[in-house]
Amino acid sequence: MINYIIRRLMIMPITLFGMTILIFLMLWILGPSARSALYVSDIPKNEAVMKGIITKYGLDDPIYVQYWSWLVGRPDPDKPGETIGGILRGDFGYSRTFSRPVMELIQLRFPATLELTLYAFLPIILVGVWLGVQAAVRHNQWIDQIARLFSIVGYSFPVFVLGILLMMIFYAQLRWFPVERISDWVKMADYTKYTSLVTVDAILNGRLDIWWDAIRHMVLPIITLSYTSWAAFLRITRSSMLETLRQEYVTTARAKGVAENDVINKHARPNALIPVVTYSGITVAYLLGGVVITETIFNFPGMGSAAANAAGGFDVVTVLAFTLVTGLILILANLIVDILYAMLDPRIRLG
């Protein structure tokens, strides 16, 4: 298992390298003038100036030269001795949509998305896993049928339609749950931002009112973001649990007279949850993609809404940087899931 993880870690640089190549190829499709956003903030109106900038920053160099510059930066033609660009230096260029360096934007937007995605796992586990186990235990009873129906219908409902309807009912009409990330009074409130995760900061500051405010703001986005995953988890847990309950050791446990509750909770469920853990890797990917639409609808200031805005303005330099960063997060998440999986399942020796 250790070997497997070490191997995964060793392959990671290759994957990361490949990811940068893929992203750079997309930049390449753009052409030199659009790529200028890597180094200058404004679209030069004047053709002569555009040409000057292309030459100045080597935007018509051979592809490998440009790739290298994009990766590690190039000497700044305006400031001798300094370097400009280079994603490894954290310089992703300039976001023309948000009028600030992309890296700054990422720093501003990342915590919100992280917080939202993490909390989105709560209902997934509560609804998906719990209901899945119930459905399997009460196989073919009404709860199972309802769960099945729910999972199919849940899968079929387009996120953007559901999101807007939820907002109209629970925000605009009932005013139960607000949109955005925090209320305006919290923005003015005086508390130390240790982590930029509002709920965490609120607790660290002992401000339960802020914590509650942040939670209330996340309710609708979380539902919108995660409901398809409830459905997916439900079906996985259900079928995995059903499979486990048919295993001999469970039958043996029952035959030995172990109480039914213990059979389910101690014998069957832990094993049934192994495939569920694997699935959470896919779920991270799904949630990270889902934030694009969810954040846009609920005006949640994370990376998803920023990416949607940037894409709408064809601010590709920004979108590409976001894609690269989410890809990186996804890779890390998958690594964690794999390690968890390897630790949970004694049967596999993936070395």
Partner: protein, 347 residues
């Protein structure tokens, strides 16, 4: 010397009759028959199949259900003026209505077109958009699915068959493509391609294909690897069948089924992805008959649901039924193919 047939006296086993088998099963082959039977005996999936068939019929007969306006591109939704406020179902079509279809007068007793489902914001006819949008959905679904599948199968097959460093390289590439969240990646590539290719179905189609083939490649690779070890492949090699013939006659036909099933289930999801990109403002030309457009016309008016319900309810029903159809069938298929199918989700 006795003739072969004489020498081989029928053995007692001959008394055991062959398993009773229908023409259909013989025609479809065992696995396919099992899938087929599973799908057709499950009431939910029968509903799903009916839905899918319904949509295919609508797509095929779109010109008869609602003919295009004269001299106009049939894939552009006709507008009855340019007004912002939606018109409710049954409003008379005033400006350049489409020709009357054969069924209209007999059924309604009227010879004036009305907006059957009303118009969306911008005076776009919802009914037209949905009917012709079905055509787009099926076309786009089939193109995306077909190309994605082809790429997936070729990469997966090559990878599994050659193994070694080719496998290693191809799987690393697959992993790289999988490293990005799907919507992010598709959004990005569409945004990159649109300035190059112009608005239309192509940028999102290409983007969805580019980031959609990996699951197929992985699935078929795994299946080929396991099938490659089967005895009947050995048997084929023993009789001297060439590698290429083994790959295409023995391995691929046996390995392809789970992938095909997975692929068929994905069409519904693909249409939603396409619509989602449309929602984010990336995709076809404004007014192009695709469901994403129809929904995005409605986008700003969902706020007054009680008055303008028809602009979102009708497109919503169509989209949900379409996806539901595929999901019902997919659900049944997954039950049949489980656990192989587990963990394949993409959206």
């Amino acid at each position: 010397m006795k003739s072969a047939s004489e020498s081989m006296t029928p053995l007692s086993e001959e008394a055991i009759p062959l398993r009773e088998i229908g023409k259909l099963e013989r025609f479809l082959g065992p696995e396919f028959y099992r899938i087929f039977r599973g799908v057709f005996t499950n009431p939910l999936s029968v509903i799903g199949i009916s839905l899918i068939l319904f949509f295919i019929l609508v797509a095929v007969f779109a010109p008869f259900i609602i003919p295009p306006v004269k001299n106009a591109d049939p894939f552009m939704i006709p507008r009855d003026g340019y007004a912002a406020a939606p018109l409710p179902p049954g409003t008379k079509w005033l400006r350049r209505p489409p020709e009357l279809p054969f069924w209209y007068t007999p059924l309604t007793g009227s010879d004036e077109w009305v907006h059957i489902f009303g118009t969306s914001s911008g005076a776009w006819d919802i009914f037209y958009g949905l009917v012709w949008g079905t055509r787009t959905a099926i076309i786009v679904g089939v193109i995306i699915e077909g190309v994605t599948l082809l790429i997936g199968i070729i990469i997966g097959a090559v990878s599994a068959f050659y193994g070694g460093w080719i496998d290693e390289v191809l799987m690393r590439i697959t992993e790289i493509f999988m490293a990005f969240p799907f919507i992010f990646a598709a959004l990005t590539l569409s945004a990159v391609l649109t300035p190059r290719l112009g608005k239309g179905i192509w940028p999102p189609t290409i983007a969805i294909i580019a980031f959609g083939w990996m699951s197929y490649a992985r699935l078929i690779r795994g299946d080929i690897l396991s099938i490659r070890e089967r005895d009947y492949i050995m048997a084929a090699r023993v009789v001297g069948v060439s590698d290429l013939r083994i790959l295409f006659k023995h391995i691929v036909p046996n390995a392809i089924y789970p992938t095909l099933v997975l692929a068929s289930m994905d069409i519904g999801t693909l249409v939603i992805s396409f619509a989602a990109l449309s929602f984010l403002g990336i995709g076809t030309e404004v007014g192009y008959a695709d469901w994403g457009q129809v929904i995005s016309f409605a986008r700003n008016y969902i706020g007054v649901f009680s008055k303008y319900w028809y602009i979102i309810v009708y497109p919503g029903i169509v989209l949900v039924l379409f996806v539901l159809g595929w999901n019902l069938v997919g659900d049944a298929l997954r039950d049949i193919m489980d656990p192989k199918m587990r963990g394949n989700v993409r959206r």
